[in-house]
Symmetry: C2
Subunit: 428 residues, 2 copies
């Protein structure tokens, strides 16, 4: 499919600035063929031409940390701090999930992703082959993240997944990872570091999410989680930490030296009472910051607009009103996440890049007047403004309709069946 | 018009609980004629019957503090603390507004209100007669709030507005108020208190929004703003404070004794770096809490879903994960606000009450599965879920269309003309 978007405004987000183009965007199969002024360019045959009516195109959001299939626990596991939430609600309920459950619950998340302008997710969960099936069946882009820990997974299973899933399909890739320092014994951590060495590959994990986690690691090892993992050689090829709410003195230097990314998840962090990550400090230190929703069990929605406002709002609250520049935050949400996930071709709107984008409808009251379109997106934008979401040149979502799912109610029914079955089994 | 909603689920919110009815809701002209089970009730002739398909009806949001016409400064006055924002951006730009500008900019806000499920606004702004015209022309419900201060308004103008606008139209009422303690001299404050005595009427104002405001008042008067105003007899007939981020020792007792309401505006408070209001403490003290968006200049959107998540999220962050029960927050947003504004007939879905309500579409991924519909609304809900908004029995908004405004683009064009003209005049 070759698609022509015309009468468009375009936020390419090739840098963290408010560059705004006017003109057209052309796709050719899965890639962007033109951005901006089409004058003098030979016009190919288009399969479809879309009048944008002055609406804005921008790179899709990259949900850089999530557990997609946890949709089944939305509004079930609330109002508890992380430890109790995890051990009392998540682990016992998750133990009942089948591989097919994970497929169906991930599909529910994909509906939410594309209706909210998200074009890729960095998904840490189990039954990765069924998540991978979901990517093929929906056309959505998944970067799967290893999740080995003391309750499941080995060096061998992690290596197998890495080798089998990377390059298995253009929409699927796989990154080394483990659940967290506090759920993974040192021997298994050394195994992960050895795989990183073997593949020259970065490693990702939940990191320094709560103060208790950091204090406990210091008590056990004399080092913060960042320092301890680094001492095992975990980050020789880079990687990143999900959450990173509680860095300690010395962590920033390691993060810069190793080129680590931070993925911040502010809705989850406030709801679990984990704290506010020092995002402005990361920006100042030039530590790249991506943004994620975390899973629906803790957030509870998968909405990058809400995350963006929280990223900037919580910094303004804790640092000052000028903190967390909105264009930096938008760049984090759309572009930096792509690079964290290894999706270097999905980070901005530019010729030759993957056609992963959204169109936001500016003909809605929350986007008017147009004093500053980028700030309107970050400070006032809503998933209600998402008119179209495209992944790899395919329109997956358009004004309420899902190209890959003619009957979303069937997905909702399945999700309700799954949680009803598990509640019954657990007597809850 | 008599309307029948059927196949509905209904959150009446007559209390801060999750009572959920299944059945029908009937309206007769501007009032609710039936809620729940229609068995045995004589069936009137309906002008329209709406199949809710299992979607949920709940009382409309009451935006209990806003400055509607400030839409023109959306994404213009950002990233500054309150004092600089007010004096450098708001006051000079507002000085150029005409009465007709206020009408048009208020209409833009009404489009945003109804598309987000808001059915009434407590609006503190100038040119109140043109706001009142906007209520008549759109069918939206406005409670106007006096805003006298050292830069405009007198005891006489406040009395005139109060007498002229109250009971001028079923959708319009007027409450005594002044801008803030820090912008109003004591003589004028005593005038407002005297009017409160004359009409036995409650008084509303911006109150204890920033720490600097409170400290400054203590320096000048030896009392916190709440105590100082109370010492002038301001709250003999009740009333309330917008923001109330920084209560001091002794304030809670006065608030309880006078029956004062708090309207919290968390998005504005984080964005202007003003702080986090102690909402959980207000809940514990049984001080009634309403929720407002504040104006688009500070927020920057007029979205009660975002406010609700911030109310609960910021309490969880600062107090603990169990703080700010979601059903209390939903009750604050839909019901307590009505009582603060004097709209005792608009607070819940019950026979005889005003038909001010919204329908939320549950057939969307962010509302599934249905572990708890009320928590889904507070933790995952979005204005994208608003399928219909009704005020006084009239459908004002339905799936993207505005009954009172066939051409919203004309409203957007006017808003852009206004801000362009004023930017030019100010050379900005």
């Amino acid at each position: 499919m070759n698609i022509r978007f015309y009468n468009a405004r375009i936020l390419p987000l090739c840098a963290a600035d408010e560059t705004l183009l006017t003109g057209e965007l052309w796709t050719e199969n899965d890639r962007i063929a033109l951005v901006g002024d089409p004058a003098g360019r030979p016009r190919p045959a288009f399969d479809r031409e879309i009048d944008c009516r002055g609406n804005v195109l921008l790179p899709g959001f990259k949900n850089a940390h999530t557990h997609s299939a946890m949709t089944f626990l939305r509004s079930f596991a609330d109002d508890k701090p992380l430890h109790d939430w995890l051990h009392e609600d998540c682990f016992p309920m998750e133990a009942h999930l089948t591989a097919d459950d994970v497929y169906d619950l991930t599909k529910l998340a994909v509906l939410e992703y594309v209706s909210g302008g998200i074009t890729a997710a960095f998904d840490m969960y189990y039954h990765v082959d069924r998540i991978s099936d979901c990517a093929r069946d929906t056309g959505f882009r998944f970067v799967l993240c290893g999740a080995v820990n003391d309750f499941g997974g080995t060096k061998e299973s992690l290596r197998d997944d890495y080798l089998r899933l990377n390059r298995s399909h253009p929409l699927i890739s796989y990154r080394l990872g483990f659940h967290a320092e506090y759920t993974t014994n040192e021997s298994l951590l050394r195994d992960v570091a050895a795989l990183s060495e073997e593949f020259h590959a970065p490693v990702f994990t939940h990191l320094s999410e709560t103060a208790a986690e950091v204090d406990d690691c210091i008590r056990r090892t004399g080092m913060s989680p960042v320092q301890y993992l680094d001492s095992l050689g975990m980050f020789r090829y880079g990687g990143g930490g999900f959450h990173m709410v509680h860095p300690r003195a010395g962590d920033f230097e390691i993060m810069k030296a190793r080129g680590l990314y931070v993925c911040t998840n502010p809705a989850s962090n406030v709801k679990l009472s984990s704290g506010v990550a020092p995002i402005e400090r990361y920006y100042e230190e030039d530590i790249p910051v991506a943004i994620g929703t975390d899973g629906a069990a803790s957030n509870n929605c998968l909405d990058m607009f809400r995350e963006m406002f929280l990223v900037t709002g919580l910094q303004k609250l804790t640092v000052g009103a000028a903190a967390a520049d909105p264009m930096k935050v938008l760049h984090s949400a759309c572009s930096v996440g792509a690079r964290m996930m290894g999706l270097d071709d999905c980070d901005c709107l530019k010729e030759g890049k993957q056609a992963d984008l959204m169109m936001l409808d500016l003909h809605m009251p929350n986007m008017q007047p147009e004093n500053h379109i980028g700030k309107n997106v970050v400070y006032s934008g809503s998933k209600a403004n998402v008119a179209l979401t495209m992944v790899a040149g395919r329109v997956l979502y358009e004004r309420g309709a899902y190209a890959f799912c003619p009957d979303p109610d069937a997905v909702y029914r399945r999700a309700n069946e799954i949680i009803t079955r598990i509640r019954k089994a657990e007597g809850r």
